[in-house]
Every structure is written in C-alpha cells, then in structure tokens.
Symmetry: C2
Subunit: 189 residues, 2 copies
DNA sequence: ACAGATAGCGGAACGGTGTTCCGGTTAGCC
DNA sequence: GGCTAACCGGAACACCGTTCCGCTATCTGT
C-alpha cells in the first residue's frame, strides 16, 4: 500500500557484492566439476577468495548455489533442441536430442541426484527443469507425432527424469546410452 | 610355507565377538530402514549396545556393514524368481519378477546408489549382485526366449542396474513403475 | 570532497560426524 | 585358578556445515 508501483530496482546492489557473487558462481562451477556437488563449502569460498560468511549470505542453501551453476548449463541444452529440429527430420531430431541430453546429464554429476532428491530445497531447480527442458522435449515429441510417428503417451518431465536417473551411475556412459536407447525403443512400442 | 594347508578355520572366534557382530548387523538393518544408509555410525553402535571402536573392528568400511545387511535381503528376491517361474508362463513371470525387483529396490533407499556409486569399496556388494541376482534374471530371460518371445539382446546385469537407477528417485513408486514398464516394452521392440 | 549511514565482509566459534588409538577387560585354554 | 591375547569402550582428533558479530568499504546527500 505505502510503496509505489516499485516497478524497478527497489535497491541498488553494492559493486563489490555483485563481484563476489560472480566469483562464487565461477568458483562453484569449477569445484563442482572436479569434486562433485558435495564438495566442502569452504573450498568454494576459498577458491572465490571470500569468507564462508559471504558465501552463506549470497547462497543460504547449498541448493541455491547448485541452481545458479546449473541453470545456465541447461540453457545450452535447450537451445540444442531448436537447432536439431531445424536440421533433421522430427523423429531423428527427437532421438538425437535425447542422446545430447544424455551426454549433458552424464557430465554433470550430481545434477540428477539433486533434481530428484525430493528435498524441497531443490524446488527452484526442478521448476527451471520443468519450465525450460520439459517444454523443449515436449515440442520434439509433438513434432514427431505430427510427422506420423507412433509415440507412446508419456509425461515429458517424467521421461526426462528417468533418463537423468539412468545417467546417474558412474559406470561409464556406454551403459547409460544403451539403456536410454532401450527407453526410446519402448517409446515406439 | 610354514603354515599347513589351513583348509579349515585358522582361528576360533570368541563368543562375545560373534554376538556383537550379530547385534551390529541387526542394529544397522533397523537404523538403515528408518534413517537411510547415511545414518550416523554412532547411532548404530549405540543401538547395538557397543562402542564405535567395536563397530570399526568388525566393519572397517561403512560399505562392509551395508553389504552385510543387504546381502540377505537380496536372497529373498532371488528366491522369488524361482517361485514366479514355477507359477506363471515365462513371459509373464519375467514381467512380474522385474516388478517385484522394482519394489525391492524402491524400499531399500541407498542400495542403488551404493551399487552404482563407482566406489571400489562396494565391489563385494556388486559382486554378490552379479553372482546372485543377475543369473536369476538371466534365467527368466532365457525361459521367455525359449517360449518364443522376441526379447532384445541385453546384458542382464546392465538391465537390472538400469531398473535400480530408475527406482533411485524419491518421487514415489508410480513414476518408477511406469518407466520400468517402458523399459520392458523396449525389451520387446 | 567529505562524512555519516549501512550493506556487506571475514573468520572465529559451535555442534555434529567419521576415524583412530590405546588402556582396561574378559573369554578361552592350560 | 591363572595366563595370554583377542576384544571392548570411549576419549581424542580432524573435518565439515552453519551461525554470529565486530569491522570495513561503498554509497549517498550535501
């Protein structure tokens, strides 16, 4: 009531704060890649050149940091869907993208576990998953159906979640790819 | 060289030692069931009525304790394969057992993660998995093929691992079951 | 350009957990 | 009954997540 429309920045962030935030995301990305998402908080703060207090101020929950790191990586995968759809026939594009997605998840250890941990703290990440990745996949699915392919009725989100689980194992990507292909075959049965 | 053939017990275990060992496995089973396999070591020792030192003497690695607890649970699942094979036609028995196995893995949170963590400490558990579960499944697969079903060539162990991964998520058993059925459909494509 | 207000920083401190180690205890054997 | 070694318990140490607060650096108004 008392506040105006407040359509714009209710607050102007201090310059050093934003700088530290960027450094933290960058450091977290590197540490996650080499030690997994369970890496010690301190090692991330140290790498970013800040104290743990600063890290906690910007990311109260570990999941917030994980979300920040993975969100941008998801975007690249979403973009690939459009590119593949433009360059290949619908059915082929579908398979190719799922394989591309498989590769993506396989290289991001811990992403799958985080997404489906059931921990409510990961809601934002899961939300982004539903908002961005699932629709991209859904479009490919619909395009394939429109082109005459017989595709079993599945919930896109559920299917992608299953693929992610399949990639969760560290037993090389070979097995994961074979099982994903089996899942794709089931889609056409 | 100096030791004889040592064909039999090189040592006789003290009675209290064996008693404590049993108590520990029993306590671990209960604690794992209610708090997951990552439950504090101390809580297990306490429940068993022994000190942490004793626990570590019997099970130097957490994985040793997990293996001890899950091994016997796997046996029950293996037995179910024979029962189902005796009571149903091959193809049906195959599906039923996979669903039974799905249920088993789903109730044992952490089993799947442990099996496919890649951690060499879980080799013994994985070995038992290969030695007992995989052959049981393989038999059902062969029986179905012998009965004329067209079943894609898959590595039994790999397939069971995939099913376990699918059940890893905490998002209820519904989703897992649907995806497992999709995998089964892929088996027949 | 300067000073006051305050967003933001760093790291010490606390509680909980895994793991090690060793003095004391007890079962098994003579 | 007494000896010996296997065995036990828990104190001690290292590491990690998380909180808290005194100090610093940035922004803003003049």
């Amino acid at each position: 009531m008392s506040t105006p429309p407040d359509t714009r920045a209710p607050r102007t962030r201090r310059a050093d704060a934003r700088q530290n935030l960027d450094a933290l995301v960058e450091a977290a990305k590197a540490v996650f890649a080499e030690s997994g998402v369970d890496a010690p908080i301190r090692s991330i703060a140290e790498r970013a050149g800040v104290g743990v207090g600063t890290l906690y101020r910007h990311f109260p929950q570990r999941s917030d940091l994980i979300s920040a790191v993975f969100r941008r990586e998801m975007d690249a995968c979403v973009d690939a869907a459009d590119e593949l759809a433009a360059a290949h026939p619908p059915g082929e594009a579908l398979d190719l993208w799922v394989l591309r997605y498989t590769e993506f998840v396989a290289t991001k250890r811990g992403l799958s576990a985080a997404l489906h941990s059931g921990d409510p703290a990961y809601e934002p990440l899961a939300g982004y998953f539903s908002t961005r990745l699932a629709p991209a996949f859904s479009n490919l699915l619909e395009a394939a159906r429109a082109a005459g392919e017989r595709i079993a009725p599945v919930d896109p989100e559920e299917f992608l979640g299953a693929v992610a689980d399949l990639c969760h194992s560290r037993a090389g990507t070979d097995r994961a790819e074979r099982m994903v292909r089996l899942l794709l075959a089931g889609l056409r049965a």
